[in-house]
């Protein structure tokens, strides 16, 4: 009769022990059907005659990381076959290099189901352990204890979680299989016990009060509750004592709510309602011109509905130079200030290069609300249409009459459309002066975001230089206008 090696794994440190033993068996070329496995003395083995497992051999055995991880979970499963099943897959991995990539392999599917069961049980252990205080509340280290019955051997893999979380107290989690004890920062395991006596804990009544009141009787869904909190856990969860009453009374409570006639408001409600409303959120921009605050509620075109806020112009009211962009972008929409996003940052640099002081320029946009479409979870800029530009012209006119600049720079086609009536041929018209509202000189150029969109680095560098030259030309125009 064949003697079969029988590997008895320890109850604590099972995962590492299995790995060691499996490695030894594999290097000794022992096929899966020739090994019997068990954890601790408790697990029955069918074979009477045993042979000790081979001594570990030195030498590297390489297996995919995903298998190592799978095994480190599956070992905690209650199924007595788990070690043998793991070893069988390990055996196959010697020749089937891509086995782990196969999401439909029968052996692996079975192991992954076990992995999921273990994962869930570890999770439920973290969730459903309930401590009771067993020491003095005033002690330097408070002491707590819990009794729990996991479905698998999951106390060992779950215990480090409690050590990380409850490091400043001593605690003990007793299960039928093992006891985890955490004292003065050290975690140890002992043989399992019968359910111990745990003294009453006054906090449990408060916890039940919370559980009863956070429940909404108008949305009874006991199946959902049972799916996540199966009955097998109930006996160690104090709050489940409240469930029968909550379910029994839910319907009556809802009916009573529906039937109750609306009551008259309490006497103080009227007094409070007549108080002045709390101050509204202050408008974000400190440099904002006060005359345009009303813009915040502008509904002249539909763009307001989807934007965060209107973004008015910003700068000194006596600025000689006004620069008009197209519309606020994503960042401007959030911040409520013009030219603060990527194009604005580039613009800042180029203004500096051209020797223009941004703090002396009044910066604004042809359209004051951000127009965009949603792509996935991002906002994608959309150019405003003629109607939107026309609707917003009113605001630009307000800003022009308030600031009375000597020169306006139109950045891009939308600004050109608002200021000169047409957006056509902006690349041909750039670098020239045209006549704007009331004969105001308007210098035309592109929008700085145009530079950001150019994929070719050479073209980008060339266009950036052209834009820089435009800014310098605009500055010179302004100087001439001021000298005249």
């Amino acid at each position: 009769m064949n003697l079969m090696p029988h590997v008895t794994l320890p109850k604590v440190g099972t995962a590492e022990a299995w790995r060691e033993a499996a490695r030894a068996c594999l290097s000794a070329r022992i096929p899966p059907e020739a090994i019997a496995w068990s954890r601790g003395p408790g697990e029955a083995v069918l074979w009477a005659e045993d042979e000790p497992p081979p001594a570990p051999k030195v030498g590297a055995i390489r297996v995919p990381e995903s298998f190592v991880h799978l095994a480190s979970q599956v070992v905690w499963h209650k199924d007595p076959e788990r070690f043998a099943r793991l070893y069988a897959v390990l055996w196959r991995l010697r020749t089937e290099r891509e086995l782990m990539q196969d999401a439909a392999d029968r052996d692996l599917v079975a192991l992954r189901q076990m992995e999921r069961a273990v994962h869930r049980d570890i999770h439920k252990t973290k969730a459903f352990v309930r401590f009771r205080e067993v020491g003095e509340k005033a002690a330097p280290r408070r002491r707590f204890a819990a009794w729990f019955e996991p479905s698998h051997f999951t106390l060992e893999p779950a215990a480090p979680f409690f050590a990380r979380r409850f490091a400043d107290m001593d605690w003990l989690i007793a299960t039928p299989d093992l006891v985890a004890r955490f004292t003065d920062g050290t975690l140890t395991f002992e043989e399992g016990v019968e359910k111990p006596y745990l003294p009453e804990d006054a906090q449990e009544e408060l916890w039940l009060t919370y559980f009863r009141n956070i429940f909404n009787p108008a949305r009874v869904k006991p199946d959902r509750m049972l799916a996540e909190m199966p009955k097998k856990y109930w006996k160690n969860l104090p709050e489940t004592a409240a469930i029968p009453d909550l379910l029994a009374n839910a319907e009556t409570r809802v009916r009573e709510m529906a039937e109750a006639a609306p009551t008259r408001a309490p006497f103080y409600a009227k007094a409070i309602a007549s108080r002045p409303p709390p101050p509204r959120a202050p408008i974000a921009s400190p440099g904002l011109i006060s005359a345009l605050k009303e813009e915040d509620t502008c509904t002249r075109c539909p763009l307001f509905a989807n934007a965060t806020q209107a973004v008015p112009g910003e700068g000194p009211l006596d600025a000689r130079l006004m620069m008009v962009g197209e519309q606020p972008g994503d960042q401007e929409d959030l911040a409520g200030r013009p030219f603060v996003g990527p194009a604005g940052q580039l613009f800042d640099t180029l203004l500096r290069d051209a020797g223009i002081d941004r703090s002396k320029v009044f910066l604004t946009n042809a359209v004051k609300h951000f127009k965009y479409t949603i792509k996935g979870v991002r906002r994608i800029h959309q150019s405003p249409n003629g109607g939107e530009i026309a609707a917003c012209k009113w605001w630009l006119a307000q800003e022009l009459s308030l600031v009375k600049p000597k020169l306006v720079v139109a950045l891009g086609a939308s600004a050109a459309e608002s200021l000169t009536g047409t957006r056509d041929g902006i690349l041909k018209r750039r670098g020239t002066l045209e006549e704007g509202p009331d004969g105001l000189p308007v210098f035309l150029t592109v929008h700085p975001s145009f530079l950001l969109r150019l994929p070719d680095p050479v073209a980008k560098e060339m266009e950036t230089e052209k834009f820089r030259q435009d800014l310098i030309a605009a500055k010179e125009h302004l100087e001439r206008l001021l000298a005249a």
Binding site: A103, V220, V377
Partner: protein, 407 residues
């Protein structure tokens, strides 16, 4: 009559139950192994209990007070309601949080509040509570703080440095409804508040020029909630609003809360059975937008979602020309559109198919729901044939119409 702690807890958790969010996931890793504090977070939320409404209890979700100067029609705490009022002292909130946490009842605190006096007064008291938890008690568990639009930037800044998540509820899907049912709330202020939070989060993510990482600002991000069924807004409008909120403010979640009866309701909003199925369909649609590359426009063209079948199946039935999908060759994008294929199934298909030909049984083992998928896919050993074009395909999936009952 003075209220006991238990009375207050009953009143102020009852008042908090209409906030759907109880998430405790997505934050940074922390623990207390240094022995100087209490608590840990590892990015994964834990639901510590489930109430019979099927909702998870992860956080101690309470109001600091249910006194409120606002008069929002849908809200149990509105000024014109006759519910019992209470207010926790900061010490009471701190003690409940810590003691519940030590017994492993909760992952942390979700603190909200009625508006007392002004946004700043309310926000200041709430910030004081979370500061005490973090600084005096070394609490490293999860904190979700409801912030109040209009509160001063310094308070929001401090709130965001202590809290893992911040949220402000948009409440109703349109500005018109908000003006009608929550006259004191200002939709523009809510949007600006969300925009401000996003900018602060982004600023805290940027490494400074010296290479130092600034302290994280709400590492678990911001979320919001919309009440469904209190006004007449349709699902299409709701989903487009959600898409804008995700896109504009980088929200982690938009929660949909079926308007449900409240004690002492107002005549403005008749009490009906909460539209739970509609809420469920909206969550499914929301999922399709965030993880399945669907747009709001595709899911609910100009009306409401089909209540009888899920929105992905509804889309597939209306776009049959896009099917059957050849599972062995189709793009990830197309596989994600197959009813009955979840993201995990699609990942498994993509992982396995370079190595071998997929068959019907393989997909079953990979976790696909083939009852749903089979009319829409082609495999080496399966073609839907005429099944895809049968006129009554929808009827195969839709349940029998339910008898309507009086409520």
């Amino acid at each position: 009559m003075t209220l006991t702690l238990q009375d207050k807890l009953a009143i102020l958790s009852d008042a908090a139950r209409y906030d759907a969010s109880c998430a405790s996931s997505g934050t940074e890793r922390r623990d207390s192994r240094d022995g100087k504090g209490l608590g840990s977070t590892d990015g994964n939320g834990i639901c510590h209990a489930y109430t019979p409404d099927g909702r998870c209890v992860s956080l101690l979700k309470i109001l600091m007070t249910n006194f409120c100067v606002f008069d929002c029609a849908y809200c149990v705490n509105r000024v014109s309601s006759n519910v019992r009022r209470a207010r926790f002292s900061p010490e009471e909130v701190v003690s409940l949080t810590i003691e519940f946490y030590r017994r492993n009842y909760i992952e942390g605190l979700f603190l909200s509040s009625g508006i007392i006096k002004s946004p700043d007064d309310t926000m200041r008291d709430m910030v004081r509570i979370v500061r005490t938890l973090r600084e005096e008690h070394g609490f490293r568990g999860y904190i979700h703080l409801k912030t109040i639009p209009g509160a001063s930037p310094e308070l929001i800044e401090e709130a965001g440095l202590h809290a893992d998540r911040i949220s402000v509820n948009i409440e109703l899907p349109t500005e018109v409804s908000l003006a009608r049912f929550a006259p004191e709330k200002d939709a523009g202020a809510i949007r600006k508040h969300m925009g401000d939070i996003r900018l602060r989060r982004e600023a805290a993510e940027d490494t400074t020029l010296k290479g130092t990482q600034p302290k994280k600002f709400v590492p678990a991000g911001q979320s919001t909630q919309m009440i469904v069924g209190a006004d007449a807004t349709n699902d299409s409008t709701i989903l487009k609003q959600s898409a804008r909120l995700y896109g504009s403010y980088g929200l982690k979640r938009v929660y949909y809360s079926a308007f449900s009866p409240i004690p002492d309701s107002t005549a403005k909003l008749p009490l009906v059975k909460p539209p739970l199925l509609r809420e469920h369909r909206l969550y499914q649609a929301d999922w399709l937008m965030r993880f399945y590359e669907f747009s709001a426009e595709e899911i609910a063209k100009d009306g409401n979602l089909d209540l009888a079948i899920d929105p992905k199946l509804a889309w597939a039935l209306q776009n049959r020309e896009a099917f059957p999908v050849k599972v062995q060759r189709a793009t990830r994008e197309m596989l994600l559109r197959v009813p009955g294929f979840g993201t995990k199934t699609v990942d498994r298909i993509l992982q396995t198919r370079p190595h071998r030909t997929l068959r019907y049984d393989d997909l079953l083992r990979m976790g696909a729901s083939l009852k749903k998928a089979q009319p829409f896919i082609e495999l080496a050993d399966w073609t839907p044939g005429a099944l895809l074009d049968t006129a009554d395909l929808r009827a195969k999936f839709a349940p029998e119409p339910e008898q309507l009952s009086l409520f």
